[in-house]
């Protein structure tokens, strides 16, 4: 089981008293604003959780894994997530199964 937007909205409904429509819209708006900022080239820093950073990747050689044919992987901008100290500390304590 994974946490989804529906679960996040349900908790906003139960704990904050937003109605179901508002809760769903709010969750959508939250992720949309983070995406907007990153699409505009601005990193997003959510203290206590982590930072979404942008990295410029140069073109590099790649291969079609099926045919073995060489094709260049074009230069691109990618998002990376750097978890904050607080989140890292909480997750480190998790002692469950090794891979999910």
């Amino acid at each position: 089981m994974a946490l989804t937007k529906a679960d996040l909205a349900e908790t906003l409904f139960e704990e904050l008293g937003l109605n179901k429509r508002e809760a769903k819209d709010f969750v959508d708006a939250f992720f949309e604003e983070v995406r907007n900022s990153l699409a505009d080239g601005a990193q997003v820093k959510l203290s206590g959780f982590g930072n979404f950073d942008l990295r410029e990747k140069n073109q590099r050689p790649g291969r079609n894994p099926k045919t073995g044919e060489e094709i260049p992987i074009s230069a691109r901008r990618v998002v990376t997530f750097r978890p904050g100290q607080k989140l890292k500390a909480r997750v480190e304590l998790y002692a469950g199964s090794r891979e999910q």
Partner: protein, 94 residues
């Protein structure tokens, strides 16, 4: 963009909500996500990405001051994989 800037943008776009409620809602979302990961649960947000835990095996480390060898236990670290829409929009921004 920082958390407080995100709260301001959301408050201006969701003008039917009180500023205080927007603040509480943002905190709630981040706490729910942190809590899920701390319990070893994945997070899947379509169009944004997924968060999961990656395992780091135990290893021998060193105390950088004394050079003494210390054994570090295995641990989990959060991992984010951007979703298709986020990947495409970020790359188009270049």
């Amino acid at each position: 963009m920082t958390k407080s800037e995100l709260i301001e943008v959301l408050a201006s776009r969701q003008s039917h909500l009180a500023f205080k409620d927007v603040e509480l809602a943002v905190k709630s979302l981040l706490e729910q996500m942190s809590h899920a990961l701390a319990e070893g649960e994945r997070i899947e947000i379509r169009g944004f990405g997924s968060f999961s835990l990656h395992y780091r095996a135990p290893r021998q480390g060193r105390n950088p001051k004394t050079g003494a060898s210390v054994s570090l236990p295995g641990k989990h670290v959060p991992h984010f994989k951007p979703g298709k829409e986020l990947r495409e929009r970020v790359d188009l921004g270049t």
